[in-house]
Symmetry: C2
Subunit: 228 residues, 2 copies
DNA sequence: CGTGCAGTTGAGCAAATTCAACGCTTGTGG
DNA sequence: CCACAAGCGTTGAATTTGCTCAACTGCACG
């Protein structure tokens, strides 16, 4: 049930590379992204890449929040992931992006050219294994997302909040870097159902909503009970 | 929107390895699976591996149909994939299986020990890249599955039938190697809704159901219209 | 010729969606 | 500094979709 797309912290221990080990620290030492990539800033709702475009870059979020989306012919949108600082996104099956990526809020990302990575991966087995780890981690998250989509609305929202909470410094307050519409498109619900479910959780004292973008988890056990 | 878990046909062209190139032919020449693996037969509903077990093997379906499942605490089951002959399954994020695998019908699979593959992948960059391709292909299918789960019941069933049809020799008749319950758990619907939707499609002359396990696609355009 | 399982069908119900109105911020211009 | 518009979120009522519960059918197998 993960909200973030790719987090190098999770794969680096497996691959025995120290390069990413301290991604979580406030100022991580330079890794492949810092060395080979360039920093780009995007405004709210600005497109980073579009569906069908050539997949030439791999990105790492430095600040903000990036969503990846797929859109059905009739306009229904599914948000596949939210990537938070430290997460990697842009890994795509094949040569073309099957999803688009946009900044949910003003965001900075570091972009590494895919061909650069590919060339180095051919030489450097550790990098090849790192890329494999990214793909595997992304697979895990996508599986969890699919599993989320068979749950009830309450369960989806509870799971979502608990996932976000894992990423927060504070483990009681969650800041939502996305709109209700984005949450709805991620959870496979309508904006009204998301709103109603949040107020329901507030009425049952599971959470509190000081502002629409801040959630206080008052009663974690009751949320966890919904996190099947 | 793929039903099969992993199909080497799709990854081999990208990786430039000839070993798997003719997987689709009636009697494929020996590849890693034939050389390094052993053939095992499973009966209907027999477990191949369970959730939480060590992920030591990679499997390729020789005959039959294998489902991979995840189960929520309260017993709700999601089928993540159906693997048909030629497909690979068992690739798992991490050391433990996050899903179980069972034979939907009596099936033969070829198992390759993961450690064997890993050892060879360290030496053989082509094999490492092949494994990467498997992960990426699996990722694509899982994304498509997640997208399926935001569609209407009719759309899900139509998509499912069209996906299965792609795998059939005949492109008008589809054989279903799984029960209604399995289809329901794959599509995130109930068995009753699947049954009702199939009869609805039959009443609208989109399909015909000579037996419950055989579907004739009478009107592909009308099915495709639902395949958003 | 029963028995049991898989699938279908029906009726009523519950959950989530749709459509619509309302309220709260936020930013802008007078 | 206030008025007002625009965007976002919330709430309500009616509707729809798919689910639950239950009965029934057909088929395979002993």
């Amino acid at each position: 049930m993960l909200v973030h797309a790719l987090d190098l912290r999770e794969v680096s221990p497996q691959i025995g590379s120290a390069a990413f080990a301290s991604t979580a620290s406030p100022s991580p030492p330079p890794g492949p992204f810092e060395i080979m990539g360039s920093l780009i800033a995007y405004g709210r709702n600005e497109e980073i890449y579009g569906e069908g475009e050539a997949a030439d870059f791999l990105y790492r979020v430095k600040s903000g929040c990036v969503r990846t989306c797929r859109v059905l012919k009739d306009g229904r949108r599914q948000i596949a992931s939210f990537s938070l600082p430290g997460d990697v996104f842009g890994l795509t099956p094949g040569e073309e992006h099957t999803s688009s990526a946009e900044a949910s809020v003003p965001s900075e990302v570091i972009a590494v050219k895919g061909s650069t990575l590919r060339i180095r991966a051919g030489v450097d087995p550790a990098l090849a294994i790192l890329l494999m780890g990214l793909a595997i981690a992304e697979l895990q998250r996508t599986q969890d997302h699919a599993l989320l989509l068979i749950k009830s609305a309450q369960e989806r929202v509870a799971t979502f909040l608990l996932d976000l909470a894992k990423r927060e410094a504070s483990n009681i307050e969650v800041r939502l870097p996305m709109s209700r519409q984005e949450i709805a498109d991620y959870l496979g619900l309508t904006i009204e159902t998301v709103s109603r479910t949040l107020t329901l959780l507030e009425n049952t004292a599971a959470i509190s909503l000081p502002t629409s973008r801040r959630v206080i988890l008052c009663n974690r056990p009751s949320l966890s009970k919904m996190n099947v």
